[in-house]
């Protein structure tokens, strides 16, 4: 087989191969989009349900309330940020 006919065969393989790869992946993209739309109503189906957050028992003070020491620290931090932003 001479070089010319070999190269011709190679070009044929390239044209067919690239065409087929693009066709396959294009059809795959279309199918993925169709599947995505078709399955949209069932998007929560099979999703793991997140466990409900456990409520902390309020002991003594209200839940989420800061202790007097933490309150002082938070106020100090806010004041420090204000001063930094003011450029002092």
């Amino acid at each position: 087989m001479n070089l010319g006919s070999l190269i011709l065969d190679g070009l044929k393989a390239m044209a067919l191969g690239m065409l087929w790869v693009f066709c396959f992946l294009s059809i795959m993209i279309v199918c993925m989009k169709v599947m995505s739309k078709a399955l949209a109503p069932f998007s929560n189906f099979l999703e793991p349900v997140a466990p409900a957050p456990k409520k902390k028992k309020a002991s003594g003070a209200k839940a989420g309330a800061l202790s007097p020491e933490d309150r002082v620290r938070a106020l100090a931090a806010i004041e420090a940020v204000k001063l930094y932003r003011a450029g002092k």
Partner: protein, 624 residues
């Protein structure tokens, strides 16, 4: 008195002497007769031995066996060899025939057909060239008496051989290697004297005598009487002949210009194996594969051990795992179990970048065919397809395709594929920079949506159906990839998924590396073709990278939502290395531009794309 006694003694002695001399005449005659009888018996035995001795030439065989007939059904057809059967005993003889009148006439007829084709196409000089070339080849072959250099012998007297077994490889003058692959099981009755690796054959040489037989495995083997050890000198000589040093020396010096590959070449390949081990251990280039491949290459080149032969460990692993196509498919299952197709499902259009990058495969295919202009390099379309698939940057796919289309190139192609995959961070960035502007490299892409689990579960099933309907040739690879992915995503077979992505893939990787290493033997690897494969493999990676980037730029011309062209380079598979390279390069130009998840889309679609391209090549070239 004393005189009397002496006289009596003298008389007795004289009478005894006379008697003995009288008896000597018939005794001598009898001895002479015995000697003559023994000589006659020896001569008859010698004639008988000469008759039963292993014939050296076909002409001798024909003279000895009346009604000797040709029987070509004993092995797969090969122009270099023919079989002759003794109808009386059923024994068959393997004869080396390259260079005889018949094979040369066939060669000339084939050349004449090519020349006629050229004449019809109006290429008169081309036709003349083919005819002249054929004439010179025939003359040279006849002058060399069809000289054939033995590359591999894997049969011995007294051995049973099963059908499908490759027993002999010979490199004849002026043509590609000839192989004897048995089509029937048979027992070896006799072997040509001195038939060793690096020995030579001439036209008409009888290589072996066989007896076709149905072989079965005996559960109990009968004991045989052990022979005593040879003398001390012979034993030492035998020991010396069984050393690797002697074998390398013998094979190198048999006919240096022709046999150095079988001797010195092994040492060179051991050095190549050490380089692969160095790259794996010190440089960290794909160590999971290059380490077993490198060590496998070391084992395959040990002289006399025959580890990579059909009876050796590597040969058997190769036959079971690679020739059957099992290992690449199992690796694909593991890859599927490790791959998240979410980024591609979230932005499906990036899958087209994975398609564009397959241009590297076909570009390298063309390049490999064009290499035929280089003297000493001959690639047919099957070889070129196997070389091109390196551009898919997917080791298992390369091995799968090459084992089916060009098994002899497997070692070089696997090494090239894995080496270049390891070199992705070095090969890709310059090409990516060359194909893009700084502004393009800074393009930020929209955040990907979260993909629901049900989509991820349905995707592998969908792709398997697509593959079944559109490209069944790629079904073994894509099917196993999708099975692995389904196990990962469904969440109900965690143990299987865990096995596929850890234990199983690790075990298969070890055996795959060892089996690929068996193809790195000197006689298969040390050739100009290997250099061509390495060059075209590199070209394939470069073309694939450039094609992916350029296609992303083309997509930007028609799309509102811009794509960063750097992620196009990730279309060359090499998961996740190529995606990491795209991400890293993006961060170099914009430290807040994280492209990793965007690049994973074309990266995983590249895996599917290369498997599809492999299916197309198998479909186009498999039947040739």
């Amino acid at each position: 008195m004393r005189n009397f006694i002496l006289a009596i003694l003298f008389a007795v002695l004289c009478s005894a002497g006379l008697a003995s001399s009288a008896q000597d005449v018939p005794a001598q005659a009898a001895a002479a007769a015995t000697q003559a009888q023994a000589a006659a018996a020896d001569a008859a035995q010698a004639v008988e031995a000469a008759k039963s001795a292993f014939p050296k030439k076909l002409s001798e065989l024909e003279a000895r066996i009346p009604g000797l007939k040709r029987n070509s059904q004993m092995s797969e057809p090969d122009e270099c060899f023919d079989w002759y059967e003794d109808p009386a005993t059923g024994h068959v003889y393997l004869v080396y025939v390259w260079g005889n009148a018949e094979t040369m006439a066939k060669f000339e007829a084939d050349a004449a057909a090519v020349a006629a084709e050229k004449l019809l196409a109006g290429d008169e000089p081309g036709a003349k060239l083919v005819t002249d070339n054929a004439k010179s080849v025939v003359e040279a072959t006849r002058a060399a008496k069809g000289y054939g250099l033995v590359y591999s012998v894997s049969f011995a007297k007294g051995k049973d051989l099963h059908d499908g077994r490759e027993i002999l490889i010979v490199k004849p003058v002026n043509r590609s290697k000839g192989k004897v692959i048995l089509a029937r099981s048979m027992a070896v009755e006799n072997v040509k004297d001195g038939l060793l690796v690096a020995s030579s054959l001439e036209t008409g040489d009888v290589v072996g005598e066989f007896l076709p037989a149905l072989l079965y495995n005996e559960s109990v083997r009968e004991g045989s009487q052990a022979k005593s050890l040879p003398g001390f000198g012979t034993a030492i000589n035998n020991l010396w002949h069984s050393t690797g040093i002697y074998d390398i020396y013998r094979q190198t010096t048999a006919d240096f210009s022709k046999t150095w590959i079988l001797g010195l070449g092994r040492l060179l390949m051991m050095f190549v194996a050490l380089v692969l081990l160095y790259l794996a251990i010190v440089k960290g280039f794909e160590p999971l594969l290059l380490l077993p491949i490198g060590f496998g290459a070391l084992l395959a080149n040990i002289p006399l051990a025959g580890i990579s032969g059909p009876d050796g460990l590597q040969g058997m692993i190769y036959m079971v795992g690679i020739e059957s196509g099992v290992f690449p498919c199992l690796i694909f299952m593991g890859v599927g179990a490790m791959t998240d197709f979410g980024p591609m499902l979230a932005n499906p259009r990036t899958a087209l970048l994975g398609a564009a990058a397959q241009f590297g495969i076909f570009g390298a295919l063309l390049g490999a065919l064009a290499l035929n202009v280089v003297p000493g390099i001959t690639f047919n379309i099957k070889d070129a397809a196997s070389i091109g698939i390196i551009g898919g940057a997917d080791g298992p796919t390369s091995i799968f395709v090459t084992s089916r289309l060009s098994p002899s190139l497997l070692g070089a192609i696997a090494v090239a594929a894995y080496s270049y995959m390891a070199l992705v961070p070095i090969i890709q960035p310059p090409i990516m920079k060359l194909c893009t502007t700084e502004a393009e490299r800074k393009i930020r892409m929209k955040q990907l949506r979260a993909v629901p689990k049900i989509e991820k579960i349905c995707f592998p099933v969908l792709i398997t159906f697509l593959c079944a309907f559109l490209l069944p040739d790629a079904a073994p690879l894509i099917g196993m990839l999708m099975l692995g992915n389904l196990m990962r995503e469904c969440g109900v077979v965690d143990r299987l998924s865990d096995t596929a992505q850890n234990a199983l893939i690790n075990i298969v990787t070890i055996f795959l590396g060892i089996a690929v290493g068996s193809k790195l033997s000197a006689e298969q690897f040390l050739s100009l073709q290997t250099l061509g494969i390495l060059v075209m493999g590199c070209c394939a990676f470069c073309i694939a990278t450039a094609a992916g980037v350029m296609f992303a730029k083309i997509m930007n011309l028609f799309s509102k939502e811009k794509i960063n062209p750097l992620i196009g380079a990730a279309g060359v598979s090499a998961v996740p290395m190529a995606a990491r390279v795209a991400n890293k390069l993006g961060l170099e130009y914009d430290s807040q531009n994280f492209l990793l998840m965007h690049a994973m889309g074309p990266n995983v679609s590249g895996v599917i794309g290369s498997a599809v391209a492999a299916g197309v090549l198998l479909s186009l070239c498999g039947g040739l």
